[in-house]
C-alpha cells in the first residue's frame, strides 16, 4: 500500500506537511542547499574544488536573500488574510509600519534625554522588541477588524486603502517616533542580547551575539562543517550579511511552519470556509466576525514582525517607505505566486524580490555585449538602447534616450505579469509548479 500516490490510509497522513518521501528528500536537499550555498560551501573532489552557485555567497546576494526572508514573512501574513480568508487588503504596509516603529521605540538606544527624548527609545533587547512589534500590530489589526468585517470585496479594499493613507499621515506627523517625513530615524540593529538596556554612545551591555561586523563562523556552522566530512567545506569566517541571512532565514522558517500549520487547524479551516462561501460557513457554525478578526490579527502580526525586521535590516527608514507601493508589492507577490498556498507566497516573494536584480544584470550584460561587438552584438542591440536615436526596450545610458530604464521596466513587468497570471494562471507560479509536477509524476505516461 505504501508509496502509492494519492492513497492515504489515515487522516493524519493526508494532512502531513510532507506527505511523500519525494517531498521529504527534496525538502532536506533544499534545506541543506539553503544553508550551505549562501554560506559559501566548497565541494572538494580530491585536489579540485567547486563552489556551486558561489555568487549567492557574495554580500549583495546575501542581502537579497535576507530581504527575501523578511518579505516572505509579510507575504505569508497577507496570504493568510487574502489567500486563506479571502479578505482583500491593501493595508499591509500600514501594519508593517506599526511593527517597525514599535520596534524602533522599544529597541533603539536610550538617548541622552531619557526614553522620551527627541527620538523615543527604550533600549530593550531584540527578544522583547521583535515579538512586541508583532503583538502591537496584531492589536491594531484586531481594532481595525470590526470596521473591516462589515464590508466585503472591493469595499474592504477601500477601507484598507484608507488605512495606508491614515498611517502615512500618522507616521509623518509623529516625529518623536518616526523621525518625520523624508528624514526618518535609525532602527535598532539585529543584535541578539539576553538582557541589558542599551544607551546611546555606550557599548552594548549584557551577554549576546552581534550580527553587525564580520567574524569567525558560529559554532553550529562549524559543527555542520565537521558533520559533512572532508567533501564539503564551509569557510571559517562569516560576514555580517551571512549572519543576518542565517538569523533572518531561521525566523522566516518559524513563520513558514506556523503558516503551514495554521492551514491544518480548526482556525485555518474556518478561514477557508469563509473564503469559499461566508454564509454557508456561518450556517455551519463558523463565527464570521470572530474568524475575520482573527485573520486580521494574525496577518498583522506577520506584517508587524516583518516591518520590525526590515527596519533593523536596512537600519534607517523614512515614513514614506510604508506607502501604497509597499502594499501593492505584497498583493503582487500573492497574485504572481498563487493565492492561498504557502509555497505560492514563497515563490512569489523570491520572484518579486529577485526580479529587479535580474533585470538589472541582464541589461548590463546586454550593454556589455553590444560594446564588446561580436556576433551577439546586433541581437543585443535590438533590445538595448545605448544612446539617443538608438531604439530599444531597455535603456542603460543615463541621458535622454528612448527605451525604459531598469526601474521602469520592473514596474511594467509587474503589471504585465499580474495581468497574465490573472488571466492565464490564477494559481500563479504555484499553479505552474503543480502542472510541471503532475507532468513528471506520471511520466512517461503523461497525456
Amino acid at each position: 500500500m505504501r508509496g502509492r500516490p494519492n492513497l492515504y490510509v489515515s487522516y493524519e497522513d493526508e494532512q502531513a506537511i510532507l506527505p511523500t518521501w519525494t517531498k521529504r528528500v527534496l525538502m532536506v536537499v533544499f534545506g541543506l542547499a539553503a544553508v550551505l550555498i549562501p554560506l559559501g560551501a566548497v565541494l572538494q573532489f580530491g585536489e579540485r574544488t567547486v563552489q556551486p552557485l558561489g555568487f549567492l555567497a557574495g554580500g549583495d546576494w546575501l542581502r537579497i536573500l535576507g530581504t527575501v526572508a523578511i518579505t516572505a514573512i509579510a507575504a505569508l501574513g497577507l496570504n493568510i488574510l487574502t489567500g486563506l480568508c479571502g479578505q482583500v487588503s491593501l493595508g499591509h504596509a500600514f501594519f508593517m509600519g506599526i511593527g517597525a516603529y514599535t520596534a524602533a521605540v522599544l529597541g533603539s538606544p536610550v538617548g541622552a534625554a531619557g526614553v522620551f527624548g527627541s527620538r523615543w527609545g527604550a533600549g530593550l533587547p531584540m527578544w522583547v522588541w521583535l515579538p512586541a512589534a508583532g503583538i502591537v500590530a496584531a492589536m491594531v489589526g484586531a481594532l481595525v477588524a470590526p470596521t473591516a468585517v462589515r464590508v466585503r470585496g472591493l469595499y474592504l479594499a477601500f477601507v484598507t486603502l484608507g488605512l495606508v493613507f491614515i498611517g502615512e499621515w500618522m507616521f509623518r506627523t509623529f516625529v518623536a517616533v518616526t523621525g518625520g517625513s523624508q528624514s526618518g530615524r535609525s532602527f535598532p540593529p539585529l543584535n541578539l542580547r539576553l538582557w541589558g538596556i542599551e544607551r546611546e554612545g555606550q557599548p552594548a551591555t549584557g551577554p549576546g551575539l552581534d550580527l553587525v561586523g564580520d567574524g569567525p563562523s558560529w559554532a553550529p556552522i562549524n559543527w555542520l562543517d565537521w558533520l559533512l566530512g572532508p567533501w564539503i567545506n564551509l569557510p571559517d569566517t562569516m560576514s555580517s550579511e551571512a549572519k543576518h541571512y542565517v538569523v533572518l532565514g531561521a525566523i522566516a522558517v518559524v513563520f513558514v511552519l506556523f503558516a503551514k500549520n495554521l492551514q491544518r487547524t480548526r482556525i485555518g479551516r474556518s478561514f477557508m470556509a469563509i473564503r469559499d462561501r461566508d454564509i454557508a460557513a456561518e450556517v455551519m457554525g463558523v463565527a464570521d466576525a470572530g474568524a475575520k478578526t482573527r485573520a486580521f490579527a494574525i496577518s498583522s502580526f506577520y506584517a508587524g514582525v516583518s516591518g520590525a525586521l526590515l527596519g533593523a535590516f536596512v537600519t534607517r527608514l523614512i515614513p514614506e517607505s510604508f506607502g501604497l507601493d509597499l502594499s501593492v508589492q505584497f498583493v503582487a507577490i500573492i497574485l504572481i505566486g498563487g493565492a492561498g498556498t504557502v509555497t505560492g507566497a514563497l515563490l512569489g516573494t523570491v520572484f518579486v524580490v529577485v526580479l529587479p536584480r535580474l533585470v538589472q544584470d541582464f541589461s548590463l550584460w546586454l550593454t556589455e555585449t553590444v560594446n564588446a561587438g561580436g556576433f551577439l552584438a546586433p541581437v543585443a542591440d535590438l533590445v538595448v538602447s545605448t544612446g539617443p536615436g538608438d531604439f530599444g526596450l531597455v535603456s542603460t545610458s543615463q541621458g535622454v534616450t528612448p527605451g525604459l530604464n531598469v526601474a521602469q521596466l520592473n514596474f511594467v513587468l509587474y503589471g504585465v505579469l499580474i495581468i497574465i497570471f490573472l488571466i492565464f494562471e490564477p494559481l500563479g507560479l504555484y499553479g505552474i509548479w503543480i502542472r510541471i509536477r503532475n507532468y513528471w509524476k506520471a511520466w512517461p505516461f503523461t497525456y
Binding site: G111, P216, S321, Q398, A407
Partner: protein, 466 residues
Amino acid sequence: MKRLRLRWIALLAVFLVVAACGGDDDDTATTAAAADTTEAPADTTAAPTDTTMAATSTSGAPTGEILTDVGVDLEAGTITVGLLSDLTGPFGPLVTAIVTGQEVYWENVNATGGVNGLTVNLEVRDTSYDVPTHVSLYEELKTQVVAFGHSTGSPHTVAINPQLQADGILAVPLTWYSGWSDPAINSNLVSHGTPYCLESMNLIEYAMDQAVAAGTAAPTIAIVSLPGDYGLDSAIGAAIAAETLGLEVVYDGTGAVVPGQDLTPIANEIVAADPDIVFITTTPTAFTEIYGPAIQQGFEAIWTGASPTYNPAFLASPLADALQRDFIGSAYVAPWGSGTPGTDELEALIASLRPDAMPLDYYAEGFVEAKILHEALLAAHEAGDMTQAGVLAAAKSLDEVDFNGLAPNESYTGEPNERLQREIVIFRPDAALLAAGGTGANVVEPAYTSETAANYEFTGACFVLE
C-alpha cells in the same frame, strides 16, 4: 505526526543553540583578524577587510609599487567608480543630468591620458530614492568599486554611513545637508558646496538688503519649507538668520509643505501675513503650487529659497514675468555662461561630447564631484596606495581642490568651522538668457558670503538626522 513535530523541535533547538553559542566569539574575532593582517603586509590581492590593515602598515612601501584591492586593476589599467544615483525617483531629472556631467568629465579624462594612464569606468545604479534599495545597491557595488562618486539623498547616505566606515570606503554625498561638515559623521564622506543652512543665511541677508534698498524700513519674512533634512536644514538656517538680522517672522511654515497635498491654504496664509520676503524651500512643483496662487491674488514680495526649489523651466512658463520681478535664486556652482575658465571648459566638453544635450547647470555638479574624486585618485596614486582605504585617506588629506571657477575651492583638512563652505552664487531669473541658449541665470553676485553666514559658528548639523 509526533515524530515529525519532534524533528522540527530539534531543528528549532539547533537555531537557538546558534544564538546562544556564538556569544563570546566576537572578541577573538577582532584580535584574530588583526593578527592575520600584520603577517601579510605586502599582499596586494588580499580581501578588502584585510587591506585596511595591510595598507596602513605598508605606507612606506617601495616606490613604484602601488597597492590595490577593489576597483583598481593595474594590469587592465582600469579604475571603477560607483554612483548611487536617483534616476527614476523625485530627483530623477536632476540627478540624470549630474550623472551625464560625471560621464563627460571622465570621458574627457580618459581621452587625455586617464588618471596616470588608468581608465576610469563608472558603475551607475538607480536607487529610485528608496533607502532599502540604496543600501542593497551599496552592498552590490562595494566589492567592485574603489569609491563612490556620489550617493544621492541624506537619509540614504546616513543609512550606508556605518557600512562605509566599517568597509573603509569613500563616498561623495550628493546633498547639501549641513551634517556632512560634522567630523562625528563625515569620516568617510567628502562633501562640497555651501550647506542648505548657510545658504539660507546668505539668501535672507541678501534679500533683506534688497528690501531695505527698495525703501522698506523693517522688512518682515515668511518661512516655508518641506519636512525632512533638506527643508528643515534650510528653514532652521532661515530662522537663525531672521533672528540675527532682527527680521520679524510673520508666517512660519517650517515643514508645512507636504508634496501631493493641496498647497493653496499655505499660499493664502502667506498672502494674509503679507511679508516683504518669502523664504521658500521646496521641490520645484510645490513651489509653483504656492507661488502661483499667491501672485494670482496680486501679492508682491521678494521670493527666495534653496537652490533645488528653482527650475529654469519656470522661465518658459506663464510664471516667467512674475519670477523675473520677484525671485532671487541661489546656486552652489557657477551657472552656464558665467564665463569662468571652469564653465567655459565644461560648455566646450558638453558641446563636443554630448552635442544633443540641452544646457543645464547640473552638469557642473557632476564635474565638481568627479573633480574631487579625480584629485583623490591622483593623490592616492602618488602615495602608492590605491586601495579603497588609500583613496579615502588621500581624499581626506586634500588641502585644496581647485574647481577652476566652476565652484568655490574646497579643503578637507583643518577645523570643520574653518573649512566649511559659506559662499554661494546669487542670480536673478532672466528669460532672455534662456532664449539665447543658456539656463536663464543672470548672475548678480558670483561669490556671495553674508555676514551672518561668515560669523556663524559651526558646531554641528543645523537639523540633526537622528
